[in-house]
């Protein structure tokens, strides 16, 4: 995988437009998942994900070929998402307060052992619940939690993406997890 990606990157560096399309195909879902979890809105997530790829294309010469391409790309996408969040902070909190799970607690939904009649609906609600919970986190916890659980990256990779020491990443994940625990308890 890494070798293939490197070969494509070298083609892009020589100015090959179409080779970049292959990179987009390889990473679009993961980048979109990242921006969607960070921004909580499909349209905005798509805009930012596209912007991330365009930035990657125009800055491809700055990418260090011996590093992991995904780390570099996620870093661009994370920073753009955080920038976007800062710009539209007020909307954001409003967003986070909208919850489709009023009167339902996450625990009662999921922890019951007996099968639920409307299983699909419930799991959608559960997903919505966790999505809203992530969105209510402050940006610094949200990025760490998203990278760890949505992208399933190692602490070391997360520290490279966020340009923070591993210790700080750990602390952010711990606090983020703690906050989510409380949110889910309230729901």
């Amino acid at each position: 995988m890494d070798a293939i990606v490197k070969r494509i990157v070298l083609k892009v560096r020589k100015g090959d437009h179409n080779a970049f399309g292959e990179l987009v195909e390889l990473y679009k879902d993961r980048v979109f998942a990242l921006t969607y979890r960070m921004l909580g809105n499909r349209q905005e997530a798509e805009d930012v994900a596209q912007e991330a790829f365009i930035r990657a294309y125009t800055n491809i010469d700055r990418y260090q070929i011996d590093r992991k391409f995904s780390t570099w790309l996620y870093r661009i996408a994370t920073n753009l998402s955080i920038d976007r969040m800062r710009k539209k902070k007020p909307d954001y909190y409003l967003d986070a307060e909208v919850s489709g799970t009023e009167g339902l607690t996450m625990y009662s939904q999921i922890s019951t052992d007996e099968p639920l009649p409307e299983e699909e609906v419930v799991s959608l609600e559960a997903q919505e619940g966790i999505h809203q919970a992530i969105l209510s986190l402050p940006a610094k916890y949200r990025s760490a939690i998203t990278l760890k659980y949505i992208q399933e990256l190692s602490l070391k990779e997360i520290s490279e993406i966020l340009d923070l020491p591993v210790g700080t990443v750990k602390t952010r994940i711990h606090r983020g997890r703690e906050t989510l625990r409380k949110k889910l308890r309230e729901q």
């Binding site: 879902d29 979109f32 798509e46 365009i54 559960a126 750990k170 997890r177 703690e178 625990r181 889910l184």
Partner: protein, 210 residues
């Protein structure tokens, strides 16, 4: 019972799989004796499983093409290289025509010349005419370029007049073919004919060798 904050940190270390076996044992021993901590840890586990079970996301349809449309224009050379790779025959044909046209054109415009293997020729400046005088015999082919040609004597070979006119006096005699080339198209055609003839000769001479 109030538990120390270190226990919470320990829980997270265990969740991150950063804890040593000894630390794990320490935590789990404690959880057996403390319900508050046990509940806390289980809530964290549930939070984590929620996070991990969130559905995988797909980028919207047409995502790649939308990105590609927004990219700055690529360098022209790359575009040409790719086009050439996908159309090798057209590329070869175009290359051939360009080189051919170049050589034909340069030989067309090259300086005036006259070639004959033997014989004395006269040149009249004012009419710009090369004359094969009466009684004169030219052995071999005669080529005149950018001049007129008047034949009063004899040519034992082909006559080629490029960009000029040729007059044959009644007494004149040419044993080979007489050819007049006046236009660049004729000239091109003549060059191609020669080329094909050379190629043909090449093959026939190879056959002879066999």
């Amino acid at each position: 019972m109030k538990c120390p904050a270190e226990l919470i940190v320990l829980m997270h270390e265990v969740l991150d799989e950063e804890a040593t076996n000894e630390q794990r044992r320490e935590l789990f021993d404690h959880l057996q004796t403390c319900d508050d901590c046990k509940e806390h840890y289980e809530e964290l586990k549930k939070t984590e499983s929620f996070l991990l079970s969130s559905p995988s996301m797909k980028a919207p349809d047409g995502f790649t093409s939308k990105v590609m449309e927004q990219l700055p224009q690529e360098k022209r050379t790359v575009w040409m290289k790719r086009w050439m790779k996908s159309h090798p025959f057209v590329t070869a044909a175009v290359l051939f025509l360009v080189l051919m046209a170049g050589s034909v054109y340069s030989s067309w415009t090259s300086e005036d010349q006259l070639s004959a293997l033997s014989g004395n020729l006269r040149f009249e400046q004012d009419t710009n005419t090369v004359i094969v005088p009466e009684g004169e015999v030219v052995e071999g082919d005669l080529t005149v370029k950018n001049r007129n040609l008047e034949i009063e004597g004899q040519v034992k070979g082909d006559v080629l007049v490029i960009n000029g006119e040729q007059y044959m006096a009644s007494a004149g005699q040419v044993t080979g073919e007489i050819e007049e080339v006046d236009h660049i198209l004729d000239w091109t055609w003549y060059q191609i004919k020669n080329l094909l003839q050379d190629v043909g000769n090449l093959f026939s001479s190879e056959e002879e060798k066999k």
